[in-house]
Amino acid sequence: MNKAYQVPVRISSDWGSVLLESNEGRYLMMEFLESLDWSPLIISLKTGVVATIVSFFLGLFAARKVIKLSYKAKAVVDGILTLPMVLPPTVAGFILLLIFSRRRPIGIFLDQQLDIQVVHTWLGCILAATVIAFPLMYRNARAAFEQIDANLVYAGRTLGMSEMNIFWRIVVPTAGPGIASGTILTFARAMGEYGATSMLAGNIPGKTGTISQRIAMVIQDGDFVTAGFWVVVVLLIAFVIIFLVNLVTGSRMKNIKRW
């Protein structure tokens, strides 16, 4: 631990030369990476992917339904669906815990009848991440749907296309850039989820320990090297994600004046 602690000082002073020229630096680096527990990256990625897939379909579905609602019903339903995004994640985590705790009716039912455990499991990770990230998907999809010319849908209907066909072949592709950026942001949010996850799933290394939780944990231990490493990983992922969002939505921005 102590040895590793000295590394970042030199890395930050001259990253390139330490890596390329200093044998000692290279050795320390290799040693650090070899001894590192990579499970948080895998768990975070897995959680992000699954939560994104679930949110994607749920979000599109919810957005489609909400658009059909009357003005007043829309305000209420939209409020409920967006709530997890506005609430502090710990509050969402608390509510999830209330629902799924193995000492409460739903939790007992799931555990005893269906053998499903949510609390302190990877399922809990996914559930927490999905609940928190879902509003991003839903809101982006809804905004994209609302921009769609209703005549496209009407045209599809008068041409005899089924509602299913219209939705997947006309609506979703036309709303593509909005949906894509929603999906990417959802993935980012799901991957980085901390508050609700820590309450519902806990931080069990190799099982529910995500990158965000690992950073918090190692900092409490004073291990700034490991924390720093994961921070760099998160920064890289975040940048790639923002880059992707801009790339996807960028095509629509081509005509915007660069004042």
């Binding site: 010319d149 005549n151 496209l152 009407y154 045209a155 599809g156 209907r157 008068t158 041409l159 005899g160 296309m161 089924s162 072949r169 006309i170 592709p173 036309t174 593509g176």
Partner: protein, 360 residues
């Protein structure tokens, strides 16, 4: 080939109430924006649901509130051409045309190829709608509808999104393309030129109601009422008093017309088209209007005179007049040779055949 429609729909303050039967091949609906003509088309297509009534095409019931029949748009076999064409932006021309075809692969391709040829879309097959000109988009929209072989085609202001210089030719082209279509076509428009050119039968609408219906040429010649005449583009109206079978006093214009034909009882207005006046110099002749000139507008190929009847035209009162009381006299450049070198005519003569005898 027939359509039978009788529907009512209320939407906030606006209420639509329209009924007509027709077996004409080309039907026009003319009316200002917001008169309910698009709503009528949308009701036929099943996009909007009327509150009550029925819609039948070729004897097939599409909608009947009393019998609780309301076919889905998918089941109506109604082709709808939207004002903005509503081409699917993420599909190519060929994909757009084939979008609604539930045929086998081979049949579908054959149908698409046929449409591409008929609508002169060769070379554009792989293009996206955003890459097409307005006229090309219109052809794709029509091809997409025709590929689907609907029982009736509805055209909702199809030319309003086009550049002025394209309009005329595309109207012509559209009519040629619709030539070999067997079913009925309903065109909705606020442009009387478009409607006149296109339709055999005409329905004139205003504020959700039918003002008049009948053969197009007949409605333009003899509109019957002042409001219908106004919709057909007539500019000049005067209240009239029937003196006897051949004499009519035009109250607003201060003259009495002597007509060869018999004037029916109950006629209380007269309409006169701005292009129909005949200029007269020198001696006052039969049915001549004396006037004061209020103003002249020069248009590229037309000159427009705005006049006041003589008795109103006392100096100083010109400006205070309501513009709707000005008499319009339009003369095209091609006919203006008779005016060359001459001053403003002394009188304008009414042409008997052009005098429209109207009721309020």
């Amino acid at each position: 080939m027939s359509i039978c429609l009788d529907i009512k729909k209320k939407l906030g303050d606006f209420s639509l109430e329209i009924s007509f039967d027709s077996d004409a091949k080309r039907i026009g609906i003319l009316g200002p924006s917001g008169c309910g003509k698009s709503m009528t088309l949308k009701s036929i297509a099943g996009i909007e649901k009327p509150d009550s009534g029925q819609i039948r095409i070729d004897g097939r019931t599409l909608f009947d509130q009393a019998q609780k029949i309301n076919l889905k748009p998918q089941k109506r076999r109604v082709g709808y051409m939207f004002q903005n064409y509503a081409l699917f932006p993420t599909m190519t021309v060929v994909q757009n045309i084939g979008a609604g075809l539930g045929l086998s692969e081979d049949d579908r391709n054959a149908r698409i190829t046929d449409m591409v040829e008929r609508f002169h879309l060769q070379g554009l097959e792989k293009h996206y709608p955003g890459e097409l000109s307005g006229g090309q988009q219109q052809r794709v929209a029509l091809a997409r509808i025709m590929a689907y072989k609907p029982d009736i085609i509805l055209l909702d202001e199809p030319f309003s999104a086009l550049d002025e210089h394209l309009k005329e030719r595309l109207q012509h082209e559209m009519m040629a393309m619709l030539e070999d279509y067997e079913g009925q076509v309903i065109l909705v428009s606020h442009s009387r030129d478009e409607i006149y050119r296109f339709s055999e039968e005409l329905i004139i609408m205003q504020e959700g109601h039918v003002l008049a219906k009948g053969k197009t040429a007949q409605l333009f010649d003899d509109p019957g009422t002042v409001s219908v005449a106004r919709m057909t583009g007539c500019k000049n109206f005067s209240a009239a008093q029937r003196l006897d079978t051949h004499h009519l006093k035009l109250i607003d214009w201060g003259i009495t017309l002597e007509l060869e034909r018999e004037i029916p009882e109950g006629i209380n207005s007269v309409g006169y088209r701005a292009h129909a006046f005949q200029p007269v110099w020198g001696e006052r002749q039969k049915n001549c209007l004396a006037f004061h000139l209020s103003g002249v507008d020069e248009l590229p190929f037309e000159r427009r005179y705005y006049l006041l009847p003589e008795e109103d035209g006392a100096a100083g009162s010109l400006i205070r007049k309501d513009p709707s009381e000005l008499i319009c006299w339009f003369i095209q450049d091609s006919e203006r040779t008779q005016m060359d070198g001459k001053p403003v005519p002394d009188y304008l003569q009414f042409n008997e055949e052009s005098v429209m005898l109207l009721r309020k």
